[in-house]
Symmetry: D3
Subunit: 243 residues, 6 copies
């Protein structure tokens, strides 16, 4: 099967990192195709950028010319998953939700450790919208911008682990979700520091997408995610991917 | 003061209707400027169209060249209000929230009567995200598409009033919100049929926007709606409005 | 239009202060009439006093002989708003709810800073009853009695600002509501200290009452606030206002 | 021990009926003293009347000259319990809460069958304020005014039983609470019709008050129900009981 | 009447302590029969032990040969109460729920102070399942194992009181529940340290069981707790009590 | 990897059916080992039987002598998952939770269609305990006993499909979960009748267990599911499996 993993950021290096992380989870026979949006912010860290990314991600999938079996939206606390579910029949998996859903099987509560303080509300709202907030102990910010994480992994691990420890001790979390695409690959080091299982959204999403495809399940079209009604969309010729 | 009222649909006739409705509520000294997005769906009735409208509305405001004091997002159950709050300092009022917030002062519970069944979940999610769901008795669909309402007002009133009566009798609503920009102006006739106060989102939003400006209040920038961080937005040159 | 602003305390100086504050928000053509209850506690700071004020406020409005268009109950976390809505057809606006409802348009969450610790539960319960608790980050006490605020405004600002800062930093509030009628007029100084918008309940209530009247909206009479049934009320001859 | 059972209505016949019902539950050594408020509505069926009763009940207890060990507020969905808890140290038991609390030990969910439709919201709000709403399946109105129940018991049983059956079948209630002081004594007949246990608030409250006294427990004074602060209460000389 | 008080631990000394505590609350005419399960953990402090105790408690009651009027499950945060309600018609009272239900009559909020950190989630889940979580301010662990409490009462009081004080000051609890069967008898000393009422689950449960019996109320059999359907239970010959 | 799928019923035919269903979902390299409890009810349909099954399932796993990588508890709305998580380090997946968690990726809401009315509350409580209730539209009973389903599959499909259609139309479900182990294999026929995706708990659980093992994730031991403390378990020698 072929799974599209769509970065929400236009930074190609993050796409590469997400693709590599996804590949570590993919089973034999699963092809991971990582897409970078043709337009939008280098790194998405707020609502405007996320709204823009929502459309850019949808258009990136629409522009993809080969068949595919599932879509992963690889951003934390982002807008747009509902639109993807409307446009396509194949399963759509958001990494925020994939991580939370997986974490709930491993402990009674979970916390998310994310990048900047300003993204905390977006993640909280996404978890609430998805019906996954009841067992969320907290969403904590490490204070790191998305692009900072790439630049100094050691400092990133320290900052993330510090919040993870506080989530376990103070917020009574039992599982930690790494709440930023750029944190992929740091899980083992955070686990060593906290003693709690650490869930990475990208790898969790890959296994969930594979499972949904394997079980022959597709997005429900009975109401919310029914295909768009036929109508005029005017003046919209989205920017195309470079090269 | 000048209030921008931004239609989410690209249909100019709906913009005119919203502008006319807004004008009935505006106090002396308030100038209503109605904007139509430069791109997007003729009528927004689902997630993809709404995500596209979210960006189109933001770009419409960014493209507006004169000073303004407040923004009204004139669509029901739409995405994007958070992005507007980030981009601008002036108050932003969503008509779904304006109607609900106003209704709560008039009765213990309220219901929303909207257009199509598929928009019910969007409205429910918006009310939840805004912290206004606790006193929502129900969101009910009249079965009318947005553009149908314009075409046959008498039939529209019948369909809307039928659901409003059921909301009062079965769902124990005490106030009715008209949950579609196109329903503006039908309030009095629905009130006659139900005996319950009827709130129109556009006029409610105008008075709220006026009040926020009058009180000197602006969007909080301490966290969620802080301005976007400076960074590269690539390849994004949004379609401009016609004419 | 004429708006009755009814103090819940029998202290005339507080009535004057509320009236002055209301006047700053009233638009041209709005007459503010401030009423002091004929009986009850000098300053209301608990349940018994608030229950007594509930009746005293209703009787003060019943005793008022001129026409009026709206009623503002000018106390924080008080009982009685539901009774006013039953007795009268015009809109009734509680300042606790007015502040919260206004704050929700300005930020994702809000906190209330009130006077004494013992009034915190009353405010929490009022917000819950009104369906406005979901986005309330916290209700915090400054430790000041109502009458202390008048006596030393500088110390009051310090005590209030300290709690406001903690609300923003620790409870993740994005907007501050001043939760005591006596705090009216301190908003600007608290805003300077926190960087967050500050909402005053009295002025918020004035604009909401004006808007409801302007839109021709009145209290729903379909169920909860239907007029009292005709029946014998025995032995009740409420104390009348002095002078 | 002596338990004050305070009617919220000024109808002496209801006081007698409540006293008789309370007596059936009182253990040896418990003296039931039934009080009728000195002022207020013959029968309380709405917010204004309930707010007035709240004060009338408090004043009735204050006017009582002998020692007592507990207070029962014998009205359904009424305001005022919090004020009683502030004024007195002995346990205060509201019959709405007593019935719900008792019902929760007997089945997974309970419904309340009350008098008029307009009292449904008051009961719902009381249960929420008391933290007892989570297992409430529904509050249903029989359509009977309080005084109608006394007048035709057979018709009352029919109307109540019909709603009780619907509560069990449609709302999945497992226990029925009789939600009106005037329904005391009809429990057995309603139980026969539904097969579900029926809880009467007055008798439940008597046993709870007895138990609290027996265990030496008193109202917490650490915050919400601390005694009123010393201050001037002006112009308040409540009407005294007749005779 | 005869009330069975069933220890969840197989430690006979705890059974004796629970029996003695229950006896202090029993009214004249109430016979307390304390049962020790025939099998299971000496002290129950986790899920496996609690699941085993659930069955052991049910079998202990089934093995009891004399008539009885009510059952008290004397463990904090334990599984199994629902099964007892299915097997027997008489009222079943869980001490976790008895304490919370009683506490709610004494203050606006309550906290539970229990033994080990690992039992906190069990108590939280039990309160949620019982519909008693809304007014729970916190569940706090003293860090004491069940059997430690017996060994050093003075140290136990210190550890419990420390958490009780923090519950009142930091979590805004107004009543304290002693959340461990072994803490019975320490209430007065904890109350002295906090100023808040202290509720003991065992004595609270005795008075509630007595009241339910006194009122002629029994477990609802209309749905969740209907008797088990007749069917083969294979290979199950539970260990019998010693001696 | 080896996954233990443990039936909660002692009926060997149900074990076979569950094993066959599990096998349809298992990937190459996954060995499914189906276990039947050594004691307990032929078919579990209530709390007592479920409490007994909880222990029987744990003992069945303890008695298994080979290594294994994950455990599936194959019963709907059952007690005991928490105990399994305490006793073992490998992931534990409950089929009620597996189905709900999977359904949430496919539609905005889901309903569960189960066997008897009396099992509805158990499923609701399990979903709440697992933090999966927010998007549950309803739990509906088909009226079929567990063993009836096996006996007449055609009638079973009819009864289940009827409730599934009502869930979609009346309760606004978008995905259906088959809420009974015995319904495994009927998914496709129910899907044809409703147009909504149908999730089977057993197959969903197999893919989730495989994914957790594949990702190297194990049950968190930091608090709730820490291993039982060392202590005396007296008199407990569980019945062993036959043959």
């Amino acid at each position: 099967m072929r799974i599209l993993v769509v970065n929400v950021n236009t930074s190609a290096s993050i796409t590469e990192s997400i693709a590599a992380q996804a590949a570590t989870a993919a089973r034999p026979g699963t092809e991971i195709v990582a897409l970078t949006p043709a337009f939008g912010a280098e790194s998405v860290e707020g609502n405007y950028e996320s709204h823009l990314a929502a459309i850019a991600v949808m258009e990136a999938v629409r522009a993809y010319r080969e068949p595919f079996d599932a879509i992963i939206q690889a951003g934390y606390g982002e807008h747009g998953r509902e639109g993807l579910q409307e446009l396509f029949d194949v399963p759509v998996v958001d990494i925020t939700e994939a991580a939370a859903s997986t974490a709930q099987f491993l402990g009674r509560t979970y916390s998310v450790v994310t990048s900047l303080d300003r993204t905390v509300p977006l993640i909280e709202d996404r978890l609430t919208a998805a019906g996954l907030a009841a067992r969320c102990a907290s969403v904590r910010a490490s204070g790191l911008a998305v692009l900072d994480i790439e630049r100094d992994l050691r400092a990133a691990v320290d900052a993330i682990a510090e919040q993870a420890v506080r989530a376990v001790d103070d917020d009574r979390a039992e599982v930690i979700c790494l709440g930023c695409g750029g944190m992929s690959g740091l899980g083992e080091r955070v686990r060593e520091r906290t003693g709690a299982p650490v869930v990475d959204g990208v790898t969790a999403a890959v296994t969930i997408a594979e499972s949904l495809v394997h079980l022959g399940l597709r997005t429900s079209k009975v109401r919310t995610y029914a295909p768009p009604r036929p109508k005029a969309i005017i003046n919209w010729d989205p920017p195309r991917a470079r090269g």
